[in-house]
């Protein structure tokens, strides 16, 4: 049974008991920003909802936006309802000083490695994850390489001028 983005949004409003932090629709892809504590109950409700059936987690990845003071680190979740071919994207943002997000492994086993990857690259701590340790990088690495403050090039090099070759 197909449904519109507005219906999902209405359900989200009712479920979290108020207005989400922000809502946008880039390329018809409903994107909702939430507070971290609203995330797990909402996803559980969307997953078990008889009409929506967001039973498949397509993707989970991290974000780092240093300009957003107090909300520097983010996690993006994408869910797909195969019964009606609708996707939604949920975002949560946390301060870089205490990057604590509830773990999605409570609802989807596929979140296990994706959260480990996000922790590995962004240092976001997933509360309740069964085995949160680095996955692609070496275990004794002491920084989180995808954060914007870590440059791509070796810092020893001075033959490349940033204004010319950098971003």
């Amino acid at each position: 049974m197909p449904f519109s983005n507005e219906e999902v949004l209405q359900f989200i409003r009712e479920n979290i008991g108020g207005e989400p932090v922000s809502v946008s629709e880039p390329h018809d892809f409903l994107t909702v920003e939430l507070n971290p504590d609203q995330l797990l109950p909402l996803v559980g409700a969307l997953k078990s909802h008889p009409q929506f059936q967001f039973t498949f987690m397509t993707d989970l990845c991290g974000l780092h936006i240093p300009e957003q003071a107090g909300k520097e680190l983010g996690v993006v979740y994408m869910f797909h309802s195969w019964s009606s071919n609708t996707k939604i994207r949920l975002k949560v943002f946390v301060p870089v000083a205490s990057p604590l997000v509830p773990s999605m492994t409570a609802h989807f086993n596929s979140a296990n490695w994706m959260e480990r990857e996000t922790y590995d690259f962004y240092g976001i701590i997933f509360d309740g994850h069964p085995n949160l340790k680095r996955i692609l990088n070496v275990d004794d690495m002491d920084y989180f390489p995808m954060r914007k403050e870590y440059p791509l090039e070796d810092q020893i090099r001075n033959d490349k001028v940033d204004s010319m070759f950098g971003r």
Partner: protein, 410 residues
């Protein structure tokens, strides 16, 4: 140098209670990182009770190349060669998926002819990918002949790539806005030859395997994946369809004119290794059908969009026309800013839904680019599936899942 004893024991808490007293009788086996049977650089540390796997831990990341970090520092067209190296058995699919993502961000409409050429390239890539997976599955079960048979045919696919784009394995095929050149007469001739000569060879391959008693005994009811587990672990592609769920991005969210073609989506029943093999076999036939239709109905017209800001002009024009020279310079030097936006685009890769999540902040490079790599997501189920299995069966299951190290590690 860190003391070896200070590393945490990877098996802490995962040995079942009833096996706890035998823990000293168990053998630890390192399957990988470089083992002929893993067909890629990744490791499984297995706890074995004789021939039986009690538990396992996957270690990945041996060929991690930080593509997502590199991509934040490259203009869009320089990211295409990075995508080649994700699933290197089907590079054109990765390339096209990336071009389509950027086109979605820019709002560029690609002409039909370019889309049909892309479909041809993508389906060839799917055939090449499935050929490798299925023939290697044969090798792992002790049948080398089929592998040699179809690898000859794979070479012919690579010859066609070469005619289309000039390279074979890491193709860097197509450009943002279309293809870099039109389908040449030689390419069309080679394609027609392939479409004529490949089916009998593949029939022979199928005759070697499909009803082969030895092969069937090795693969039927081995590594059964239920629908629920497949969805829970984020399986997509042939592995998911073998478990009985008919999710295919080409049908659910058609891209690049896939809605124009008639083809079937094969699905399995039991989700075992045999079903995965048979689903891939059938997908090869369906891909051939799509290529035949695309070639028969190849529309006339331009092979790239009119998007001068992003599509490199003809070399001849660069020498003679001022505008072309300016655009050439700006594109090559990465001086063109992309619009602000947030895009997710997925294509049906060789292994499943290959997604690109792109956030642009208006700079010349992405602010964030995330690859949804199907291998990375479903491979975490492997140790779960391998529990209680014989080692020789576990090797077959790994082969039939078609885990590609490049896609695993990005």
């Amino acid at each position: 140098m860190q003391n070896l004893a200070s590393f945490p024991n990877p098996f802490n808490g995962i040995i079942p209670a009833e096996k706890e007293e035998f823990v000293n009788d168990l053998t630890t086996l390192n399957l990988g990182p470089t083992h002929p049977a893993t067909h890629g650089v990744f490791q499984n540390i297995l706890q074995m009770d004789g021939e039986k796997i009690i538990s396992g831990v996957s270690t990945i990341g041996y060929i991690h190349r930080a593509f997502e970090k590199i991509a934040e520092h490259r203009p869009f067209y320089q990211i295409t060669p990075l995508t080649d190296r994700l699933n290197y058995c089907s590079s054109p699919i990765n390339n096209m998926g990336w071009h389509m993502t950027v086109e979605k961000l820019l709002g560029v409409t690609v002409p039909k002819r370019a889309e049909y050429i892309r479909v041809i390239a993508m389906e060839l890539a799917r055939i090449a990918d499935h050929l490798i997976c299925n023939s290697i599955l044969g090798v792992d079960s002790g049948a080398f002949t089929g592998f040699l048979y179809v690898f000859q045919e794979r070479e012919k696919i690579y010859d066609i790539y070469e005619e289309i784009c000039g390279s074979r394995l890491t193709t860097n095929m197509g450009r943002v806005g279309g293809m870099e050149r039109d389908l040449s007469d030689v390419a069309i001739a080679k394609l027609k030859k392939f479409l004529k000569e490949f089916p009998p060879v593949y029939k022979e391959f199928e005759a070697l395997f499909n009803r082969n008693r030895i092969f069937m005994d090795r693969v039927i009811d081995v590594g059964v994946l239920s629908k629920e587990m497949a969805m829970d672990y984020g399986f997509t592609g042939p592995n998911l369809r073998a478990a009985g769920i008919d999710y295919d991005v080409r049908v659910m969210n058609p891209y690049s004119s896939y809605e124009d073609f008639q083809f079937d989506i094969p699905i399995g029943e039991n989700g075992d290794t045999y079903d995965r093999f048979m689903v891939r076999n059938e997908e090869i036939w369906q891909s051939l059908r799509i290529i035949q239709q695309a070639l028969d109905n190849l529309p006339e017209g331009p092979y790239h969009a009119d998007a001068p800001h992003y599509y490199l002009p003809e070399k001849q024009d660069v020498y003679t026309k001022m505008e072309a020279l300016i655009y050439h310079f700006k594109i090559v030097m990465g001086e063109i800013d992309a619009p602000v936006g947030e895009v997710y685009h997925a294509v049906e890769g060789g292994n499943g839904e290959l997604g690109y999540y792109l956030i642009s902040d208006g700079g010349r490079a992405p602010a964030r680019l995330h690859f949804r790599r199907p291998c990375f997501i479903f491979y975490q189920a492997y140790t779960e599936m391998a529990k209680g299995m014989l080692l020789s069966d576990a090797i077959l299951v790994m082969s039939s899942m078609n885990v590609i190290a490049g896609e695993l590690d990005a």
